[in-house]
């Protein structure tokens, strides 16, 4: 950014106008300053992916501080995990990423043995001697996981590791109480065998453990970078992933530019694919070295219109389809892509989400929280007053699945046809009013205005209005607080929000992940944003966390689902199907919202871009 040209011009209107005219004549041809190198010379034919992010983006690139899907979308490009999702496999399956092969498990199902790939290097960075990235070793893995237990790092996902690795919980307690956190202190369940081999001993068989190792919070970071950059580490990521990011290439809330990591390990496009992938040519690049593009430009969009227009103008390579734009691209009845879009070579993908959309109560709040009969009646009254089908029709083109409980469609424990025996689905205003009276607030009298926190993007303001109107029918008043997503999460994590709303996308395809949202020890700032507390539920959760899948486990999942529904810590639920549109020059893209490190598989045919 330069300032001087504007200053003198602005004092001389005739010169200013002249500059305007010259600029108009010049057109936007040299606007793409981003494609120029530091000395102003154009770089040779870079392959650039232009992708959107529907939020104000991450606040930190430190994996342990992350928790949202947007943190995941950014961090997963720069850091690697031990395991990753198979790119083309559906339903999701895991495969080795930083390790040679899938870990071996001892007979007692407690000890995992891992073998790291050799020759994986952290990206070059001044934090290393001579600025050359060193090789990743076993100690880095344990160091990164230990960071999750250091409260100074403000970890948002400690719950992923809690009660999992032998000795880690005790280590966490001792070190956080000590004057300084000793990362060199041993942890019983973390055994380094050599630089490339290590063992992890679990406190009990933990079903989710391998899924956790594929989550971005488990990414491996170098100690040198953390110690050199301190709090700046969140803005100065140093990873082993396919891309890297310079501090100046991240304008918070606006854009982020990632560049190919020249020291990225040997990683190849997979050959394993589904039969349906062949029609889209997704199998063709098998064996090609990754990443396939040189640069990724991520633009954050708080509003949907500019994102949609940028896609239609060919400035974005793909887009999610915001619900209000669905009728523009799809035939409403058949939900198939309109011919005009097909003629442009645009391809549509429907991605069913492991989704849990809800409007939640802070169960510690003196008004809306609590477990006594009248407290429960208040929440149940509000639930009964809400018409989720109206939300679905108005804002989601009727494409969502309205269902009972916190377990999304497709997972064990999901009620048949989405309707549980103790269904709370409304609208039933008569029942709602009766429950409200039972709660001590007949027609809402005496009930204070309830603060409702939600994010301010897309059509959220309109959704809030509908929510207010529906609750207003029984005399419940809302005071909406519309915040940026990251600020919303902070408010919820700090238990400031009385009521709040967002969507939870399952971290891995197991109902246990969603049920963990109500596990007492996970209370905020953990994933139990509701601060729900039920000892019986917690005991059952501990049981399913170690049980292998099967009918007995499913029975307990159903029981837990119904327990949560009885206490009404939220109003819900809905699950979305996300529709993606892909421009014809973007290749190899098979969208998924279960994982986000897929940019390395993307390729671009720059010759097909409209402005070429």
């Amino acid at each position: 950014m330069i300032g001087p040209p504007l200053t003198p011009v602005s004092h001389r209107p005739h010169r200013f106008l002249a500059v305007l005219v010259l600029g108009l004549l010049a057109g936007p041809a040299d606007v793409k300053a981003g494609l120029k190198s530091g000395d102003g010379e154009p770089e040779p034919a870079l392959k650039v992916v232009h992708r959107p992010m529907r939020s104000d983006g991450p606040k930190s690139m430190d994996p342990v501080r992350g928790s949202t899907t947007y943190d995941n979308q950014a961090i997963s490009q720069i850091y690697d995990t031990l395991l990753q999702y198979k790119y083309l496999a559906r339903p999701p399956q895991l495969e080795p990423c930083l390790i040679e092969e899938m870990p071996t498990l001892s007979d007692d199902e407690l000890t995992y043995r891992f073998k790291l790939k050799k020759g994986i290097r952290f990206q070059d960075d001044p934090c290393f001697p001579g600025g050359k990235g060193r090789e990743l070793v076993s100690q880095d893995v344990f160091y990164s996981w230990k960071r999750m237990s250091d409260n100074d790092n403000q970890p948002k996902s400690w719950w992923l590791y809690e009660d999992t690795i032998a000795g880690l919980d005790a280590y966490r307690k001792v070190q956080n109480e000590a004057a300084t956190f000793d990362y060199d202190a041993p942890v019983e369940g973390m055994r380094v065998i050599n630089d490339h081999e290590f063992e992890v001993i679990l406190v009990k068989p933990v079903q989710r453990f391998l899924w956790v190792l594929a989550m971005f919070q488990s990414c491996v970071v170098p100690r040198e970078a953390v110690e050199k950059y301190g709090t700046r580490f969140g803005r100065h990521p140093v990873g082993t992933g396919p891309f890297s990011m310079a501090e100046e290439d991240w304008v918070a809330g606006q854009k982020m530019i990632l560049k190919r990591n020249p020291t990225y390990r040997e990683d190849f496009y997979p050959s394993e694919h589904e039969a349906s992938d062949e029609a889209l040519g997704l199998h063709l690049p098998a064996g090609k070295r990754l990443p396939l593009v040189d640069r990724v430009e991520i633009t954050m969009f708080v509003q949907d219109q500019p994102m949609w227009l940028q896609f239609r103008a060919g400035k974005l390579d793909y887009t999610q389809v915001p619900s209000e734009y669905f009728p523009k691209a799809f035939l409403r009845r058949s939900q198939s892509l309109k011919q005009s879009f097909r003629d442009e070579g645009i391809v549509a993908h429907a991605v069913p989400l492991l989704d849990f959309i809800f409007r939640a109560f802070n169960m510690e709040d003196p008004i809306v929280g609590g477990y006594t009969g009248n407290k429960r009646a208040l929440r149940e009254a509000m639930h009964a007053a809400v018409d989720l089908y109206e939300f679905n029709d108005t804002f989601y083109n009727g494409l969502n699945w309205v269902y009972d409980g916190p377990i999304p469609p497709g997972l064990a424990g999901f009620p048949e046809n989405g309707i549980a025996p103790n269904s709370l689905q409304g609208p039933d205003l008569k029942r709602a009013r009766a429950l409200l009276a039972k709660a001590g607030y007949p027609e809402g009298k005496g009930l204070p205005v309830i603060e409702y926190y939600t994010s301010n993007g897309s059509n959220i303001a309109e959704q809030v209005e509908l929510f207010r109107r529906q609750l207003g029918k029984i005399g419940v008043r809302l005071l909406p607080r519309l915040l940026d997503f990251s600020t919303l999460i902070d408010a919820i994590s700090n238990k400031r929000a009385q009521m709040f709303s967002f969507a939870w996308g399952s971290d891995y395809p197991d109902a246990e992940n969603n049920l963990a949202l109500f596990y007492g020890p996970n209370h905020a700032p953990g994933s139990n944003h509701y601060n729900y507390q039920n000892d019986e539920y917690d005991k059952l959760y501990q049981k399913i966390a170690v049980m292998p899948p099967g009918p007995e486990r499913t029975e307990i999942l159903v029981k837990m689902r119904d327990m949560v529904m009885r206490d009404v810590p939220y109003i819900g639920s809905m699950a979305r199907t996300r529709h993606y549109l892909i421009n014809p020059w973007l290749r190899n893209f098979k969208p998924s919202e279960d994982f986000y490190n897929w940019i390395k598989y993307m390729d671009i045919d720059e010759s097909k871009r409209p402005n070429k």
């Binding site: 936007p28 580490f233 809330g253």
Partner: protein, 318 residues
């Protein structure tokens, strides 16, 4: 003149100290750390943030330390909401994008509004006057959001479809050149001008009309001065005081940016940053920003007085 400026600066130092005192006290009425962290934050985290900001020290000491930082323009304290980002760097990197919108918008609005004001006043009561006032009022009566939605669709997307890609739908260039400014900033500037023009034009018209009714104008007419001379030499010159006042009042707000434009056009400016900071209760950013804004306000007040004296000899620098 120089002595006057120095004197005014010295006189305003106690004012500035008072403002900072009040601002710092006001920001501490409710504990900023608890406000940021929430009532269930851990004591360790609370202590850490409070210690980083020196909030555990006596207020007078905090006041002295902050004044010292302001005097040295040392804003190296870190944002709470964006860990690792120094407040000074955060604000300076937002400054240029904001000014890239607000300065051209101010200049264009002022030139157009004065022109409209003069024309309306000169043709008072005629169709030209009525038309100009009508369109000015119409422009300011329509919401910014309508202009933004229509501007993005027709001004950027639709024109681009026709091969006239003058304006970007959103975004901000990595390096600001005249052509990149036109591509990314001109559309939001034009929208700002469209809305602001009505307010300014009506104000300037009222000023011009008032000046037109003064005795010296009647005298000038009696002496046979042409209408154009009366308008541009006599009326405009004597209307400069209210014009300067209005422009100078606007100056400090240039750095706060244009919040809606920055949000919808994805421009990483000061207004957007300030809103994010306020929403997040990012105390270090809010405190520094307030101090800078207060300083700018005082400086523009002084500049206003100086300009009064330059443009109107009747105003003497005492």
């Amino acid at each position: 003149m120089f002595a006057y400026i120095v004197r005014r600066l010295l006189y305003n130092i106690p004012v500035y100290l008072g403002i900072i005192f009040i601002v710092m006290a006001a920001l501490r009425v409710n504990d900023p750390v608890w406000a940021y962290l929430g009532k269930h934050a851990t004591q360790e985290r609370y202590d850490q943030l409070a210690s980083d900001m020196g909030l555990g020290k006596p207020f007078v000491q905090q006041y002295g330390n902050f004044l010292s930082d302001v005097a040295r323009l040392d804003f190296t304290v870190e944002s709470w909401d964006q860990p690792g980002m120094k407040v000074g760097k955060l604000l300076t990197q937002c400054l240029i994008p904001s000014l890239a919108l607000t300065i051209p918008a101010l200049i264009l609005t002022t030139i157009l509004a004065i022109t409209v004001g003069l024309l309306s006043a000169y043709n008072r009561g005629r169709w030209i006057d009525q038309s100009l006032v009508f369109f000015s009022v119409l422009g300011m009566s329509i919401s910014y959001l309508v202009y933004i939605i229509l501007g993005q669709y027709f001004g950027a997307f639709w024109l681009n479809e026709w091969g006239i890609g003058i304006f970007a739908i959103e975004g901000y260039p990595e390096s600001l050149t005249p052509s990149s400014w036109i591509h990314y900033c001109l559309l939001p500037v034009l929208i700002s001008v469209t809305v602001a023009l009505g307010y300014d034009a009506r104000y300037y018209r009222a000023v011009m009309v008032e000046e037109s009714n003064r005795d010296y104008i009647t005298t000038a007419r009696a002496k046979g001065a042409s209408g154009q001379k009366i308008l541009f030499v006599h009326v405009l010159k004597n209307a400069m005081i209210p014009i300067i006042t209005r422009i100078m009042i606007t100056l400090p707000f240039l750095v706060t940016g244009s919040i809606l434009m920055e949000m919808y056009f994805n421009i990483p400016g000061m207004g957007r940053q300030l809103i994010l900071a306020i929403n997040a209760k990012d105390f270090p950013v809010i405190q520094v920003f307030t101090a800078i804004f207060a300083a700018l306000f005082i400086l523009t007040n002084i500049m206003t007085d100086v300009l009064y004296a330059i443009f109107d000899p009747r105003v003497r620098l005492q």
